[in-house]
C-alpha cells in the first residue's frame, strides 16, 4: 500500500484525526499527508519541525539525559498541546528518521489511536 493509503486508513478509522503526515526527520520534510482540508506546505513544515524537536531535538535529548532514558530508542511518542490543538508524534522504532505527525481534535480514545498509528507507521517503515 502506498504511504498515503496508510495515512488515509488511519484517518478513516479515527475521524477525529484532522491530519496525518509521514515525515523524514533527518531531511525535515513531510513526504506524504492526509487531511480533511489540504494544508499549506508552510504549516506542514512547521509540524515537521515540531516533530523533529520533540522526538530528536534538544528537548528530547535533555529529557532523555535527565530521566536516564536511552536516546537512541527514546522517545517513541511525543505530544504538544497549544490551545485546543493536539499534536501527536510517533517515531519509528525501525527507522529512526521516520515519523508520523498527527493533529487530532480530541483526546478521547487516544490510547487506541496511538496503537493504530504505531501499526501504520511500522507498516510504512517496513515498506509494506
Amino acid at each position: 500500500m502506498r504511504i498515503a493509503g496508510w495515512l488515509d486508513s488511519l484517518r478513516r478509522d479515527f475521524p477525529e484525526c484532522k491530519l496525518a503526515a509521514f515525515a523524514d526527520l533527518s531531511a525535515g520534510m513531510v513526504l506524504a499527508s492526509s487531511a480533511d482540508v489540504p494544508m499549506p506546505q508552510e504549516r506542514l513544515d512547521r509540524l515537521c519541525a515540531t516533530a523533529a524537536e520533540l522526538l530528536a531535538g534538544d528537548s528530547a535529548r535533555r529529557i532523555a539525559a535527565v530521566c536516564a532514558q536511552p536516546l537512541d530508542q527514546w522517545p517513541a511518542h511525543a505530544m504538544a498541546i497549544d490551545g485546543d490543538e493536539i499534536g501527536l508524534f510517533l517515531r519509528s522504532e525501525h527507522e529512526a528518521s521516520d515519523a508520523l505527525c498527527c493533529l487530532v481534535e480530541t483526546a478521547q480514545g487516544m490510547e487506541d489511536f496511538l496503537i493504530s498509528a504505531r501499526q501504520k507507521l511500522d507498516a510504512i517503515s517496513a515498506g509494506q
Binding site: L54, S59, A60, R62, I63, V66, C67, A68, Q69, Q73, W74, P75, A76, H77, A78, M79, A80, I81, D82, G83, I86, E93, A107, Q108, G109, M110, E111, L114, I115, R118
Partner: protein, 265 residues
C-alpha cells in the same frame, strides 16, 4: 350513613386500605446494583436524582472504586450521606454529612465539583438505592437539579484562572502519576511521588524555571509530553498555564487519562 349503605362501606374500606398501603414503606426498592450509562455519567446521575421521589439514599460507584451516596427525595438532593474519592481535594472532605438546606447553600458548587471529579474519565457507573432509615428527619428542602445546573452555568469557565486550573488538575491527577512537581510564581511549590522519578522531575523543574523567566508572559495553556513504548514505559509531561507549571512522571497506561484531565480544565 356508615353502616347503613354497604356500597358506601365498601368504598370507605377500599380507600382506607389504599391509604394504609401508602403509609407503609415501599417494598419495591431495587435490591441489586444497577448499571447506568457511563458515556455521560453526570447526566445519568442527574436522571437518577430527578426520578427519585420517595426518600432514598442513592449509592453511586464508579470503576475506580470511588463511591458517592446522596440522600434524595422529591427529585432533590437533601444531603451527602458519604463520599470516597481518590482525589484528596481540600474542600471535598466537608461534604459527607452536609445537609443542603436550600438552593443558596454555598456548598452547592463544591458538590458539583466533586460530582465532576467522580465522573471524570470513568467507564463504569452503577447505583443502588436504599431506604433512608429516618425520613422524618428531613427538615431541609434540599437543592433541585435545576438549581445545580444553574450553579454550574454560573461557575467561572474551567481554566479561567490558571492557579485554579492547575489546582484542580493537581488534585484530580493524584493516583494517576508516579511523581509530580508543581511550580508556581517561579518557585517549586509542591512535590509528590517516588523518589527516583521525583529527582528527575526536580532537575527538569529547575531548568524549566530558568527558561520560564524568559517567557514570563507566555499566554494560554500548553502541554508537552514524551514517552517510550505504550506497553510499560514511563511518560513525562510538562504542563503550563501562565506562571503555573506541573511536571509529571506517569505510567504509559495513564497517558490518555491525564491528557483528557488536563484538557478538561
Amino acid at each position: 350513613m356508615p353502616g347503613n349503605d354497604p356500597h358506601h362501606d365498601a368504598q370507605v374500606a377500599r380507600l382506607s386500605a389504599r391509604l394504609a398501603a401508602l403509609r407503609r414503606p415501599s417494598a419495591v426498592v431495587a435490591k441489586a446494583r444497577r448499571t447506568l450509562e457511563a458515556a455521560n455519567p453526570l447526566a445519568a446521575i442527574a436522571n437518577e436524582i430527578d426520578e427519585t421521589l420517595l426518600p432514598r439514599c442513592l449509592n453511586f460507584k464508579n470503576d475506580r472504586g470511588e463511591t458517592m451516596g446522596l440522600d434524595v427525595a422529591s427529585g432533590r438532593v437533601l444531603s451527602v450521606a458519604h463520599m470516597a474519592l481518590q482525589a484528596d481535594a481540600h474542600d471535598f472532605g466537608s461534604l459527607p454529612g452536609h445537609a443542603f438546606f436550600d438552593a443558596d447553600d454555598p456548598k452547592c458548587a463544591t458538590l458539583i465539583r466533586a460530582m465532576q471529579v467522580f465522573c471524570q474519565d470513568i467507564s463504569e457507573l452503577t447505583v443502588k438505592a436504599t431506604i433512608v432509615p429516618e425520613p422524618q428527619g428531613f427538615t431541609n428542602i434540599g437543592v433541585s437539579l435545576q438549581t445545580l445546573e444553574q450553579q454550574v452555568m454560573a461557575l467561572p469557565p474551567a481554566g479561567a484562572d490558571p492557579q485554579e486550573r492547575m489546582a484542580r488538575f493537581w488534585t484530580a491527577s493524584r493516583g494517576l502519576v508516579l511523581a509530580a512537581v508543581r511550580c508556581s510564581g517561579g518557585e517549586i511549590a509542591e512535590t509528590t511521588g517516588a523518589p527516583t522519578e521525583l529527582d528527575h522531575l526536580l532537575a527538569l523543574a529547575r531548568d524549566e524555571l530558568a527558561e520560564a523567566d524568559a517567557e514570563a508572559d507566555a499566554p494560554g495553556c500548553r502541554a508537552l509530553a514524551w514517552g517510550g513504548g505504550m506497553e510499560s514505559s514511563v511518560f513525562y509531561m510538562v504542563l503550563g498555564c501562565a506562571n503555573e507549571i506541573a511536571l509529571i512522571a506517569l505510567p504509559a497506561r495513564n497517558f490518555g487519562k491525564l491528557t483528557r484531565l488536563w484538557l478538561a480544565g
